[in-house]
């Protein structure tokens, strides 16, 4: 019985071999082997792609995870047929597409999920009239700034943002380095995203929400080489301070931000001039004003580190930004800043009298309007600064009769630009934007009070004409040429014109 079973097995095996062998011998041609290998390769590639899709789960940490909404059921009779080779997997469990992220400078994938680093910067060169050299035109250059922008998403709703800025070529101590710039933390805060209407920005270093340029000052967002004049004195950009805020949407097309920050302070010396008691230098050493009729608020920013602020009060700022739908292409904002006092601890006049509180209120309103279907763009801005008690300002009590401050300062500007497409070259869509901007500002209005003699030179009343050309090879890169002429009321004029070229970039 066992022998018969063994015979049957051997017979079946032989029959199988006989049955298969001729077929196999006939089918195995090199072409067929290649075809089979190709099919296998395709299958492996497809499986690998699907595996990658599952592994990387579609996106960086903050990537969306859309809710799968597919209803069960097969493809309908008229379902679309993808192009040959495009593999369409109905009801695929993969949530979204697989992504090769470029979170480091838009070039490389980030080694840490959620970490992203961008950069912007600007380089300037040309001739500048030096008022301290009797208006001599001097050739020069400035590596104005390189700003790194690391950000990190802790979760989909908690987000760290920072900007680290290297100004004027950075800093270095050795004689041969010849660098006298700055390295600054320009922004560092954490956002807690609650809902579209209410979000919380943690205490940190943040921009004061005044006007447009202080919040949006990347060089690709304005056309002159230097920032607009109103943003270099009346609004002391880049104005960043210890602060916290809330922000969100009021209604569609109307957003708000309310911020509490370290107050401006009427102390114009550097950080090293603050004695250990964290006050102004003792009388009668004297000190420079932070607010003056010559420099507006440029020197009034509080320090951002080491508990070296000289004020015990906080400032409050609020900004409404709007894009009214009935004026397509229009965007504007209105901002308000208020501090109960800018007077630093221990402030005094050169006569030895203590200086008491003086509040400061700043109002800014501006718009930008790109006229639809045309190349025209218009911008305008008004800034007003009002002092509560200007007899307590240091500039009015520092024995200098030329830098006094009245009851207010203000300025306004209007700008026209025209966008001209230049066509495609070097892989980019080029655009040229010629522009003209007129600015008037008065830093020495009437209403002076204080212990100084009052003999303003007129340098604070300026008419500024700025014109030039900005060429954008891409939206992220700009080449600029600007001429600026300043007329003020002082004898001999300002002697501070310039002709500058610039290169600016921004990417993330």
């Amino acid at each position: 019985m066992a022998g018969l079973r063994r015979f049957k097995l051997v017979a079946i095996g032989l029959l199988g071999v006989l049955a298969v062998e001729p077929t196999s011998a006939r089918a195995v041609t090199p072409e067929e082997i290649n075809q089979k290998l190709k099919a296998l390769e395709d299958e492996v590639r497809s499986l690998r792609q699907q595996l990658d899709a599952v592994k990387t789960n579609a996106a960086p940490a903050q990537a969306p995870a859309p809710v799968p909404a597919a209803a069960p059921g097969g493809a309908p009779p008229d379902s679309p047929q993808p192009q040959p080779g495009a593999q369409m997997a109905p009801q695929s469990p993969a949530p979204t597409a697989t992504v090769t992220n470029k979170d480091l400078f838009g070039i490389l994938p980030s080694p840490l999920e959620g970490l992203k680093i961008g950069m912007y910067g600007e380089f300037k060169f040309g001739k500048v009239q030096n008022p301290d050299a009797n208006g001599q035109w001097q050739l020069g250059a400035d590596m104005a700034r390189i700003v790194l922008m690391p950000s990190y998403a802790f979760t989909d709703s908690i987000f760290l943002y920072s900007e680290i800025e290297f100004e004027h070529g950075g800093i270095a101590g050795d004689e041969d380095d010849k660098s006298n710039g700055a390295v600054e933390v320009e922004q560092a805060w954490v956002d807690f995203k609650i809902n579209p209407y209410f979000n919380i920005r943690s205490p940190g270093i943040d921009l004061i929400p005044i006007g447009y340029t202080n919040l949006y000052h990347e060089p690709t967002l304005f056309y002159s080489v230097n920032r607009p004049a109103l943003a270099t004195g009346l609004v002391p950009t880049t104005w960043f301070q210890p602060a916290m805020s809330v922000y969100g949407r009021v209604v569609e097309n109307l957003n708000y931000q309310v911020q509490v920050s370290a107050s401006l302070e009427d102390f114009g010396n550097g950080i090293q001039s603050r004695p250990d008691n964290n006050s102004v230098p003792p009388f009668p050493d004297g000190y420079a004003p932070g607010i003056s009729g010559k420099d507006a608020l440029v020197f009034a920013k509080a320090p951002n580190g080491d508990f070296r602020q000289l004020s015990d009060v906080l400032a409050t700022a609020g900004r409404l930004s709007y894009t009214p739908p009935f004026i397509p292409g229009f965007a504007g904002s209105t901002s308000l800043y208020y501090t109960p006092s800018t007077t630093p601890r221990g402030a005094y006049s050169d006569t030895g009298l203590p200086l008491r509180r003086s509040s400061l209120t700043m109002v800014d309103t501006e718009f930008r309007y790109r006229v639809p279907e045309t190349g025209f763009e218009f911008r305008a801005e008004y800034v007003g600064v009002f002092f509560g008690n200007n007899k307590n300002l240091r500039a009015n009590n520092d024995s200098d009769p030329t830098n006094n401050v009245g009851s207010a300062m203000y300025g306004m500007s209007g700008e026209i630009a025209y966008h001209i497409p230049l066509g495609r070259a070097l892989g980019a869509e080029w655009e040229a934007v010629p522009f003209y901007r007129y600015t008037y500002q008065n830093l020495q209005t009437g209403g002076y009070r204080g212990s100084d003699l009052n003999a303003p030179t007129g340098s604070g009343q300026q008419q500024i004409q700025t014109m030039g050309l900005a060429v954008f090879p891409t939206k992220k890169l700009v080449l600029k040429l600007t001429y600026q002429n300043v007329i003020d009321q002082q004898r001999g004029g300002c002697k501070c014109d310039y002709v500058l070229g610039g290169v600016g970039f921004y990417f993330n």
Binding site: A70, A94, P95, T96, F159, L215, T323, G329, R368
Partner: protein, 184 residues
């Protein structure tokens, strides 16, 4: 002193309490869910069938050529909108980077490839949420792969939301090229 301290603490805690009350009811800055956007775009649809298109290298090359945008994905998530079992259009969920964070958005396409609707699903950036305005998003309606779909050409920029408006526009242009390459 004790009473005053309690009042002070209550004042300090009030904003946090409000936030904690609001927070559980909300989810980051979500404006629409995928389902909501689908039904807004195809209110007559009875079914949405999800599919995942995996790109071949040739598809990526074609999409990049047609859109002028780099393709950083290896596929695209798409739903077929069905009305009584018949195909009525496509619904694509995609994302772009705004300034630093991801913007989730959707593009609904008619069968002939025209844009029916673009919606922002979730916007996370601190600035630039003006692009969620329907007046701005309606500019995309009716656009096809043959239109420029470019800022300052047939789509307005939003000053103050420059990067977000630019990147969403580029994303829509890429989705239209995806339709021409893989769905048409």
């Amino acid at each position: 002193m004790g009473q005053r301290s309690a009042a002070d603490w209550a004042r300090l805690a009030a904003p946090a309490a409000i936030v904690m009350t609001i927070a559980p009811a909300s989810y980051a800055n979500r404006y629409l869910t995928v389902e909501e956007a689908q039904h807004l775009a195809f209110p007559e649809a009875s079914q949405f069938v999800e599919a995942h298109v995996v790109f071949r290298p040739a598809d990526i090359a074609a999409i990049e050529r047609l859109s002028g945008q780099r393709v950083h994905t290896r596929g695209q998530q798409v739903w077929k909108a069905l009305v009584a079992g018949r195909l009525a259009g496509f619904f694509v969920v995609d994302y772009v980077i705004g300034k630093h964070l991801v913007i989730d958005y959707s593009v609904a396409l008619a069968l002939d490839g025209r844009v029916k609707a673009v919606e922002i699903l979730e916007y996370r950036e601190a600035y630039g949420s003006e692009i969620t305005s329907h007046h701005w998003l309606h500019q995309f309606d009716g656009k096809t792969g043959r239109d420029p779909v470019a800022i300052d050409k047939d789509i307005r920029n939003i000053s103050g939301a420059t990067l977000s408006s630019q990147h969403v526009t580029e994303g829509v242009k890429r989705i239209l090229a995806f339709y021409e390459t893989c769905l048409r």
